[in-house]
C-alpha cells in the first residue's frame, strides 16, 4: 500500500515544518501552502489523500478552501488543525466537511494516527471536540435534556444524540481511544467508529440554532 499523500495548509512556516517532521516517513507530504489561493491551486494540482487544514488562514480561513474544493475532490479527506481559534471557526470547518479536528499541540504519534484514521474515512474526535458536541447538543435538548437523550427511542434524528452516541462522546471526552471504548461498552471498534461518524454527520447537518449560538459564545481550547 502506497503511503498516504498529505498536503499541509498552514500560514506559519514553523508549524508546517514541525508537522512535517512529526509526520516523518509515515506519510508522503506532497505539498504545502500558506494561504487560501495557493492552497486551492496546490491541492487541485496534487490531489492528495488527506489535507491538514489550518482553521485560521489569510484570505478567507480554512473553510474557504474546503468549500471551494469539496465537490471537486470527493476522494480527498480533510483534517482541521487549530491552535486557539474560536469554536465558531472550528465548527465552520467541520460543517464544511472536515472529518475531524486536532490541536497543534497534539503529539507526533497521535497526529500520525489521526491522519491514518482520516485517510481510512474514519472521523477524529479530540476530547475537546467531543466535549463541544456534548455541550452543544445538551444545551437545548427539548424538554428534559439529559434523561431524554439517554433513551435511544426518543432520538428524533439530527438534532439529538442517541444514548449510545452520548456514551461514546463522553468516553472520547474522557480520553478513551476507540478500542478502549469498544471494550468498555462491549461493542466492536467498527461500531464505535460508526457512532462517531453519525455524530459528525449530525454536527455537520444539524441546523439547530443552538449549535451556532454555542459556538459563538464558547471556545474550543
Amino acid at each position: 500500500m502506497s503511503p498516504t499523500r498529505v498536503f499541509l495548509v498552514d500560514d506559519h512556516a514553523m508549524v508546517r515544518a514541525g508537522v512535517r517532521a512529526e509526520l516523518g516517513d509515515a506519510v508522503q507530504v506532497v505539498g504545502e501552502a500558506a494561504d487560501v489561493a495557493t492552497a486551492v491551486a496546490g491541492i487541485r494540482a496534487s490531489t492528495p489523500d488527506v489535507v491538514l487544514l489550518d482553521v485560521h488562514l489569510p484570505g478567507g480561513g480554512g473553510h474557504a478552501v474546503l468549500e471551494t474544493l469539496r465537490a471537486e475532490l470527493p476522494d480527498t479527506r480533510w483534517l482541521a488543525l487549530s491552535v486557539s481559534d474560536a469554536a465558531e471557526d472550528v465548527i465552520a470547518v467541520i460543517r464544511a466537511g472536515a472529518r475531524g479536528y486536532v490541536t497543534k499541540t497534539i503529539s507526533g504519534a497521535d497526529l500520525r494516527d489521526a491522519v491514518r484514521r482520516v485517510a481510512e474515512d474514519d472521523v477524529v474526535f479530540s476530547p475537546r471536540l467531543a466535549g463541544f458536541v456534548l455541550d452543544a447538543f445538551a444545551a437545548a435538548g427539548p424538554a428534559a435534556p439529559a434523561p431524554a437523550a439517554e433513551d435511544p427511542a426518543t432520538d428524533p434524528g439530527l438534532d439529538l444524540l442517541s444514548g449510545r452516541e452520548r456514551e461514546v462522546m463522553q468516553l472520547l471526552a474522557r480520553g478513551y481511544t476507540y478500542r478502549e471504548i469498544g471494550g468498555r461498552l462491549f461493542i466492536s471498534v467498527k461500531t464505535v467508529e460508526s457512532h462517531a461518524s453519525n455524530v459528525l454527520r449530525k454536527l455537520q447537518l444539524s441546523n439547530r440554532n443552538e449549535l451556532t449560538r454555542w459556538a459563538a459564545t464558547n471556545r474550543l481550547l
Binding site: S84, A130, L134, A138, P145, A146, A173
Partner: protein
C-alpha cells in the same frame, strides 16, 4: 524659554558624555560650552563658568556636573510658589528661568487670574498688582492692559498641581465674590457717570449687554478640558447670550436704530451664511482630522496596553525559556503555563475570574501543572456557580489529578467534567502504570480519605477503576438534588 532649558541640558549631557568617553577632549570642551552659552547669558549676570574658569580638567568636570544639577533643580522648581526673593542675584545665567511662567492661575484668582498670575511671575504680592491695575483702570489704561493680558496670557494647565486642580470647577471663593462685587460696583459707577452724559436710557441695556459678555467670557475661559456641553456651562452660556442680545436690542430700541440694525443684521447673516458655506469643506476637514487624531490616540493607547501585558508575561517567559533551554521539562511547563495565561487574557476573562465550576477547574489545572511535571487536558461540559459542595468536589478532583501526576508515571492526564441538571461528574484518567485497587494497603490515605471520603460526606460517589499496566480512572459524581439550578 523652555527651549533654552532643553538646549542647556542637551549641552550638559553632551559635554558629560564627551568628558566621560575620552580624557583628552575635556580640555577642548570648556570653550565650546562657553560659546554655546553666551547667547543665553547675554542679559544675565556674569556666568560662574567664566569667572571660576577651568583650572584642571578634573576640576572643570566637577564644576560642570554641579552646574547640571543646579539646572535640574531649577527646572523642577518652576511651580508658581517657587523662587526665593533674592534670586535675581543668583550667579547662574539659566537661573533666570526660576521665575514662574507668565500664566493665568486658577487658584486665588479674582477675575481671570491675570493679576495673580502677573504677581506670581513678578514675585510680587497679588494685592500690589491689583492695586496698580485698579489705579490704572481709572485712567482707562488699566482696563485695556488687563484685557490684553487676559487675551494673551495662557491659562495655567490644571495638572500644575493637585491643589490647583482641586479648585477647578468649584464654586467661586468668598474672596472672588468680594472682588467681583467690587468690580460690579465700579462698573455701575462708571455706567451711571456715563448715563449723565448720554441719558439714563442706555444704562440698563449697557448693563445687560455687559453682564451677558461677562457670563460668556467666564464660561469660555474655563478649563478647556471641561466640556462646554456640561449642564452648568451650557446654561451659563445660554444665559449670557440671552442677556447680551437683550441688552443690544434694548440699546438699539432706545436709540431708535432698530430698523437700520435690522437691515444690517440681515446683510450680516447673509454674509455669514456665505462664509460658512464657502468654508464648509475646511470645517469638515478639521473635524475629520480631530476624529482621526482621537482614533489614533486610542489605538496607540490600546497598543501600549497590549505591549505592556506582553512584556510582563510572554517576554518574561521567553527569557526564562531561553535560560532553561537545556531542560525540556521546565521549558514545557513554562510554555504551558504561559499559554494558559495568555489564552485566558485573550479569550476568557470571565472564566478566569468568575466563581464558576469551569473557572475552578481551570485554576486547579493550572495549580497542578505548576507543581507537577504533567499536562492536564481539561474538557468541561456545562457550568454552574460554585457552592460549598462544588468547591469540595473541586478539591477532591484536584487530589485525584495530583495522585495521577505523582504515582501514575504518565506525562498527561485527561480531566473531563460534565454538569447535568441532576449531577456534576468528573473523570480523571491517566495512562500510567495503574494498580490493583484491592491490594492498596489500608494506610494509603490519599485516594481513600481525600477523594473517596470527601465525596461520601456529600452523598456523592467515587469510583476508582484501575488495573496494573492499564492506567487509572477516577470517577467522581456529586448529585445536585434540591439545589438543582438551570444548567448554565
Amino acid at each position: 524659554m523652555r527651549l533654552r532649558v532643553s538646549r542647556g541640558r542637551a549641552g550638559v549631557a553632551e559635554a558629560r558624555a564627551a568628558a566621560g568617553a575620552v580624557d583628552v577632549p575635556v580640555e577642548v570642551m570648556p570653550p565650546r560650552c562657553a560659546v554655546d552659552r553666551r547667547p543665553d547669558i547675554g542679559e544675565g549676570p556674569v556666568p560662574t563658568l567664566n569667572v571660576t574658569g577651568p583650572r584642571t580638567p578634573g576640576d572643570h568636570r566637577c564644576a560642570r556636573s554641579s552646574r547640571g544639577d543646579t539646572i535640574d533643580v531649577v527646572t523642577t522648581s518652576t511651580a508658581p510658589t517657587a523662587g526665593p526673593p533674592g534670586l535675581p542675584a543668583e550667579p547662574l545665567p539659566d537661573g533666570r528661568l526660576a521665575r514662574p511662567p507668565l500664566v493665568r492661575l486658577h487658584s486665588g484668582r479674582l477675575l481671570a487670574g491675570v493679576a495673580s498670575g502677573t504677581a506670581s511671575h513678578l514675585r510680587l504680592d497679588p494685592i500690589a498688582v491689583r492695586i496698580v491695575f485698579v489705579a490704572l483702570a481709572v485712567t482707562g489704561i488699566g482696563v485695556v492692559a488687563y484685557a490684553l493680558l487676559w487675551l494673551t496670557m495662557p491659562a495655567a494647565s490644571a495638572d500644575g498641581g493637585a491643589a490647583d486642580a482641586g479648585i477647578v470647577g468649584q464654586r467661586p471663593s468668598r474672596r472672588q465674590l468680594i472682588g467681583l462685587a467690587l468690580l460690579a460696583f465700579v462698573a455701575v459707577g462708571l455706567v451711571s457717570r456715563l448715563a449723565t452724559f448720554g441719558g439714563s436710557d442706555v444704562v440698563l441695556p449697557l448693563l445687560l449687554a455687559g453682564a451677558g459678555m461677562a457670563l460668556i467670557w467666564r464660561q469660555l475661559d474655563a478649563d478647556p478640558r471641561q466640556s462646554l456641553t456640561s449642564g452648568v456651562a451650557r446654561w451659563g452660556l445660554i444665559g449670557g447670550v440671552v442677556l447680551g442680545v437683550a441688552g443690544v436690542v434694548l440699546l438699539l430700541a432706545t436709540t431708535g436704530q432698530l430698523a437700520n440694525a435690522r437691515n444690517g443684521f440681515t446683510a450680516t447673516v447673509v454674509i455669514l451664511i456665505g462664509i460658512a458655506l464657502a468654508t464648509a469643506p475646511l470645517w469638515r476637514r478639521l473635524l475629520d482630522q480631530r476624529a482621526e487624531e482621537r482614533n489614533a490616540r486610542i489605538r496607540s493607547e490600546e497598543r501600549a496596553d497590549v505591549a505592556a501585558h506582553l512584556h510582563d508575561s510572554v517576554l518574561q517567559t521567553l527569557a526564562l525559556i531561553q535560560r532553561h533551554a537545556e531542560d525540556p521539562t521546565v521549558v514545557g511547563r513554562l510554555a504551558r503555563s504561559q499559554e494558559r495565561e495568555l489564552r485566558a487574557w485573550l479569550y476568557d476573562p470571565t472564566v478566569a475570574t468568575g466563581g464558576t465550576w469551569a473557572g475552578l477547574v481551570a485554576r486547579l489545572v493550572a495549580e497542578v501543572e505548576a507543581d507537577h511535571a504533567v499536562t492536564v487536558d481539561p474538557v468541561v461540559v456545562g457550568d454552574l456557580p460554585v457552592d460549598d459542595a462544588v468547591a469540595t468536589l473541586g478539591q477532591a478532583t484536584k487530589e485525584a489529578v495530583v495522585n495521577a501526576a505523582k504515582h501514575s508515571g504518565a506525562t498527561s492526564v485527561s480531566l473531563y467534567t460534565e454538569v447535568t441538571p441532576t449531577s456534576v461528574t468528573a473523570f480523571v484518567r491517566d495512562r500510567g502504570t495503574g494498580f490493583d485497587p484491592a491490594s492498596v494497603p489500608g494506610d494509603r490515605r490519599g485516594l481513600r480519605d481525600s477523594v473517596v471520603g470527601r465525596l461520601t460526606r456529600l452523598d456523592g460517589t467515587a469510583t476508582v477503576r484501575s488495573a496494573p499496566g492499564e492506567g487509572t480512572e477516577v470517577e467522581l459524581c456529586l448529585p445536585r438534588g434540591e439545589q438543582a439550578e438551570a444548567p448554565a
